[in-house]
């Protein structure tokens, strides 16, 4: 090849691509997730929606298991306790491993019972510190917001829709948190932990399911906002006649009513 052929983009943003499909020719584009370069062409190796941002071409898969990445915050379940750590299920094809040194700074004697920290069946929010080429995944719970989680409810969503659920700089999840009064942790592996009142949790779950279903459409944030607002009214109306019940659970009611004043301010502005 004496002279490089001119680069050409063969796919538009948000178009569906199938494995083996040529997405672009020439060296002016960069293959990202779900694509690879073969000779002079960029090809897809996953079935999904193409995304072209500047020179970078990637594919957002329609479905699939969670591919572990270094730095991701995930929710995991302890499935085994070993001599020097724990084995964690992170909803991925490979089980993750957490060493004792990544769980605590305490001094631990040889042969000590590690269930003191985490036992089988516990759920944790953890960060992936390393993924080897052999797909050995290491986790840590040392870090901001990383911990064991208690109570609440765990749901599973498509891992590739997680970025939409979080939104830009967490805008989507913050909105759900505020309108439903729930505490929400979204793991990159598609497990989401919610904790609040049953009504709030159910509304949040419905909203998340809606995002998962309609993630490919534009204007999603506005849609979810109006959905939450519409159902929020119903929830508060439904709970009004049962005011007597709320008074008896004053501590609970106090924590629930927190997001409501914010709502009032918002609607005043309108």
């Amino acid at each position: 090849m004496t002279k490089e052929a001119k680069s050409k983009l063969l796919i538009k943003d948000k178009e569906i691509a199938a494995p083996g499909e040529v997405l672009a020719t020439g060296m002016d584009f960069l293959p990202s997730y779900g694509t690879y370069r073969l000779n002079n062409e960029i090809m897809a190796n996953k079935l999904g929606v193409a995304s072209v941002v500047g020179k970078v071409i990637k594919i957002i898969p329609v479905a699939g298991r969670y591919p572990p990445k270094r730095g991701d915050v995930v929710i995991g379940k302890v499935i085994d306790v070993t001599m020097n750590g724990w084995i964690i299920d992170i909803n991925c094809a490979y089980d993750a491993m957490m060493n004792v040194k990544d769980a605590t700074s305490d001094f631990i004697k040889r042969g000590e019972n590690l269930t003191r920290f985490f036992k089988i069946g516990d759920h944790i929010v953890a960060q992936i510190t390393n993924v080897t080429s052999q797909k050995l995944v290491d986790l840590t719970v040392k870090g901001h917001g990383l911990r064991k989680i208690f109570g609440g409810r765990l749901i599973e969503v498509n891992t590739h829709k997680v970025p939409r659920i979080i939104g830009k700089q967490g805008s989507m999840v913050t909105m759900i948190k505020q309108t439903t009064g729930c505490n929400i942790i979204v793991g990159q592996n598609g497990w989401i932990w919610l904790s609040g009142t049953p009504e709030g949790e159910n509304l949040a779950v419905e909203a998340i399911k809606k995002i998962e279903r309609e993630s490919h459409l534009s204007g999603l944030t506005d849609k979810i906002k109006s959905y939450l607002e519409k159902n929020k009214v119903e929830v508060s109306q439904a709970s009004k006649p049962v005011g007597v019940e709320k008074k008896t659970q004053s501590s609970k009611a106090a924590s629930v009513s927190k997001p409501e004043p914010k709502e009032a301010v918002k609607s005043d502005k309108k």
Partner: protein, 257 residues
């Protein structure tokens, strides 16, 4: 849903009259019924209740009656829990659950006298119609028993006799005469967890109940069959409440048939 701990979560939700899918404790999932889904069967129905889906098929055959009831037709109900419906069902000989399910559905139809078995007699002591109900789950998302029972009676309601010339049955000829069905027995299982009673569980809830009572009732709240399950005992008051709920819910479903 994978709960961090499912049972405390169920109780926490039920304290506020809520369920995992946003229903109330005594609220059923939406029901869809489709009739005559299998052409080769004398009657069939597909019933969907939320994520649970069941197909029931009816075959009619000529056989000899039981010696103690020479002028009555026979009813046979079979439920086969296929592995395609749930990861918890195994292939092989029928499991305890499938035997219980088929027996409870059978008992409901039999004891309600929904089918007039006298009318199934062709020659006394020699030839009678045998009604075979086969129930086949397509997807299990809880409450298989109630959906199976509903599918069975829905299929029976549209069952027609095949052409019979005195010697052999011609299944290919168009069917005309309707199977005599006089009542609509509907089984409703009421579940108990702690002190809460609820109906129509989803798969997670079904794993965590303490006790259950299946009540089959016909129109006007006639009770015709019951079955108790689960590890915990039920008090007399519980049974009273459960029967009331079951009759109310059965009436609700009957309108959709």
């Amino acid at each position: 849903m994978r709960g961090t701990e499912i049972k405390p979560n169920i109780l926490r939700y039920m304290d506020e009259n809520q369920r995992f899918d946003g229903r109330k404790l005594d609220q059923l999932r939406p029901i869809e019924i489709e009739y005559d889904v299998i052409k080769t069967a004398e009657g069939s129905a597909r019933v969907k209740m939320g994520g649970t889906e069941v197909i029931a098929g009816i075959k009619l055959e000529i056989g000899s009656p039981f010696p103690d009831t020479p002028d009555n037709g026979a009813l046979m109900v079979g439920v086969e829990l296929l592995p395609l419906a749930s990861p918890e069902f195994e292939k092989g000989p029928p499991s305890i659950d499938s035997i219980e399910m088929s027996r409870v559905v059978d008992r409901g139809i039999r004891e309600s006298e929904a089918i007039d078995t006298k009318k199934l007699c062709i020659t006394k002591g020699e030839k009678v119609w045998m009604v075979m109900v086969d129930i086949c789950p397509i997807n299990d998302d809880g409450n298989m028993l109630d959906v199976s029972g509903l599918a069975a009676i829905a299929a029976l309601k549209v069952t027609k006799f095949p052409e019979f010339d005195g010697e052999s049955i011609d299944y290919k000829k168009p069917r005309k005469k309707q199977l005599p069905i006089s009542k609509v027995p509907i089984p409703i299982t009421v579940y108990k967890v702690a002190d809460k009673l609820f109906v129509d569980p989803v798969a997670e809830e079904q794993k965590e109940y303490d006790g259950r009572l299946t009540v089959t009732s016909t129109e006007k709240g006639m009770l015709c069959a019951m079955q108790k399950g689960g590890d915990e005992p039920l008090s007399a008051d519980d049974v009273d409440d459960m029967v009331k709920i079951a009759v109310k819910k059965a009436d609700e479903i009957r309108k959709k048939l």
